[in-house]
Amino acid sequence: MTAVRLNAPTPMTRVLLVDDDAELAELVGEYLAREGFSLDAETDGTRAVDRAASGDYQLTVLDVMLPGVSGFDVLRALRATSRIPVLMLTARGDDVDRIVGLELGADDYLSKPFNPRELVARIRAILRRTLPDGGGPGERLPERLTVDDVAVEVDRRLVRRAGAPVELTAVEFALLELLMRAAGSVVRREDLARGALGRSLLPFDRSIDVHVSRVRKKLGPRPDGGERITTLRAVGYLYTRQGAPGRL
């Protein structure tokens, strides 16, 4: 094994892989190590929840098909206590699994068998959205976005509605940020996917729609009762300001 690349993030980004295939975990671990990640594997679903929520890891890769406890149960238990980014591994073509996973709060999914390059790309895309230093070195001015009663502190990744904090996952935060920056104009679904997931949408890919609906649910309606984020079918989404019509 060669030395770890010099441009790897320091300290090493730690990833937890929850998968019952120990051999696969070993191979993925070796691959990720060369990309500058440190991978731990967990085969037991129940233990996985505690480990993922421990704060030792920056991201969890979770296989939906676990023996015994289902990956969904792990995800549900994890989301009750932790906002750690979760990348789901699903069987190819299993659309229902994907939607269910996203609705339970997964950040993105990858169908198995996967290309390890793609796995690394997804992990990096999610981490860029999560890690405070993801934007590169150098101090930035604390940036604050405000629309009506929702305030977002971009650097600290904090969302408040009428002063009360709202818990969003990494991808949900990224979507909200993109929509609020463009408040009052339409953001295309494809742009949201690139910006928040770091990838293009596949045919019938409902990831963005599921994430947006979760953000909507967490923020609730505007103080005047209007819908904060309106849908333009087959085009994209629009963050509306108070006084604007709730629907188009």
């Binding site: 295939d21 051999e23 696969l24 191979l27 993925v28 070796e30 691959y31 060369r34 098909m65 069987a91 190819r92 073509g93 659309d95 198995k112 068998p113 996967f114 290309n115 390890p116 390059r117 045919p203 019938f204």
Partner: protein
């Protein structure tokens, strides 16, 4: 409730019961009621007075008058009477009924009314004494049916019939309900089962006891349980196969990535391994898809699907990829068409056909895709057609190209990268949506594939 069977049972049993009742009534009257009662209207006293009257008329007016009198009697009462002398000879000039002579002899001997009856007629005889001598006998043939009708009266008959009608109707209604109710239950359960609800059971609703319906219900439940077990096992098997086949593939992919990472190897070989692994993965996906489509449990969604959208999207995507290989894809005609179905399945069906065409069309040519509404068909149909400019398919092979793994010729397919299940999946998908698929060689060369969907 099944009105057809219900009505049939009701009418059949009701009619039979009424007929049985009528037959019984007739049989009983014919066999048990004494004939004397049935001919009571033409009673002994009437017979006696008619006999004296007849003799008196004979004395005063002769045989001719007598004949006229007896004719008149027959016309008004349908009783055929003759007057016999003691030797048994007729003095009225009328036809003598059978048995008349015998009965007359008995009446002469006894001085009483004598009678003999068969099924149709009662023959009564009464001797008339003139000047202390029994000189004549009046013999009357009384039709029994006529007597019965006359004497029982239409009113009583009608009342009896009405009672039978009403009772039978009530009983038959109950019977029909009793027979049809479990049938209706079974029918609903069978339909639910056919629609894929394998948890349906009828035992609790079929009643208790051990009659045939309850047994049938038990058999149905046993069948449903077995089906349920089989289908569940098959689904689990498919899932397991999918998992077990893909696990090594997943490891292979990562190992391949590692080999690339370490570099220095022959990248072309690694590319080849990656392509074959991807092909294997696609094949597993298609096999599982086909198994699911053929399992009989596949129930495609029924959402409104805009076919024009699908055709446009598929054509755009395929055109993008075809361009890099020096081929084109163009939409030749389109129309508005929203059908009910599974958007993903339909998308993949159209995509499969178009990609197949792109694989086979010659370099520098374009694949044409079109859709049109067949306005003449009833119900309306939407036709999506895809035409390539390749070598086409020998006419003899056309019927088989939708069969799994059918290869027209090694030369045609070796370089094209087809897996061999794509068109089969298209076929099954379109069938599940109530449509048909056909292929033909287009005039001027190339293959023309048409998907016909109910619109």
């Amino acid at each position: 409730m099944v009105p057809g069977v219900f009505l049939k049972i009701l009418l059949w049993f009701w009619t039979s019961l009424v007929l049985v009742a009528l037959a019984l009534e007739l049989a009983i009257t014919a066999t048990t009621t004494p004939v004397e009662v049935r001919v009571s209207r033409f009673s002994d006293s009437v017979l006696t007075s008619r006999a004296h009257e007849a003799v008196a008329i004979l004395d005063r007016g002769g045989p001719r008058k007598l004949a006229r009198f007896l004719d008149e009697l027959e016309r008004t009462t349908r009783v055929h009477a003759v007057l016999l002398d003691p030797d048994g000879y007729d003095v009225s000039g009328r036809t003598v009924p059978p048995k008349a002579v015998a009965v007359a002899a008995r009446a002469l001997a006894s001085g009483q009314t004598e009678m003999e009856a068969d099924g149709h007629t009662a023959v009564k005889a009464r001797a008339v004494t003139v000047s202390g001598e029994r000189r004549y006998v009046l013999v009357a043939a009384v039709p029994i049916g006529l007597m019965r009708l006359l004497h029982d009266g239409l009113y009583a008959q009608g009342l009896r019939l009405l009672a039978v009608l009403v009772t039978a109707a009530a009983a038959c209604y109950g019977l029909a309900r009793y027979v049809v109710r479990p049938l209706a239950t079974l029918r609903a359960a069978t339909r639910a089962l056919a629609k894929g609800d394998l948890s349906v059971r009828v035992r609790s609703t079929m009643g208790r006891g051990t009659d045939e319906f309850v047994e049938l219900g038990r058999d149905f439940d046993r069948m449903a349980e077995r089906l349920d077990a089989l289908v569940t096992a098959e689904r689990r098997l498919l899932r397991d196969i999918s998992h077990e086949l893909r696990s090594p593939l997943a490891r292979l992919n990562v190992a391949l990535g590692l080999a690339r990472q370490k570099g220095g190897e022959d990248q072309a070989v690694l590319d080849r391994i990656e392509r074959e692994a991807e092909r294997l993965n696609a094949l597993i996906g298609q096999l599982l898809m086909l198994a699911w489509l053929e399992s009989g449990t596949a129930a495609p969604a029924r959402k409104p699907v805009d076919l024009a959208d699908i055709v446009r999207e598929v054509a755009e995507d395929a055109a993008f990829e075809a361009k890099s290989r020096g081929r084109e894809v163009e939409v030749a005609e389109t129309c508005d068409a929203v059908v009910l179905g599974d958007p993903e399945l339909l998308h993949s069906a159209v995509e499969n056909v178009v990609r197949n065409a792109v694989r086979h069309t010659r370099e520098g040519t374009a694949v044409a895709v079109g859709m049109r509404r067949d306005a003449h068909a009833a119900p309306a149909r939407i036709r999506i057609w895809v035409r390539d400019h390749g070598g086409g398919v020998p006419d003899a092979a056309l019927p088989y190209i939708f069969q799994p793994f059918y290869r027209v010729g090694d030369a045609r397919d070796r370089g094209t990268g087809g897996v061999g299940l794509g068109l089969t999946i298209v076929h099954r998908t379109i069938q599940l949506h109530g449509g048909t698929v056909s292929a033909a060689n287009a005039p001027g060369g190339g293959l023309l594939v048409e998907l016909d969907l109910p619109g």
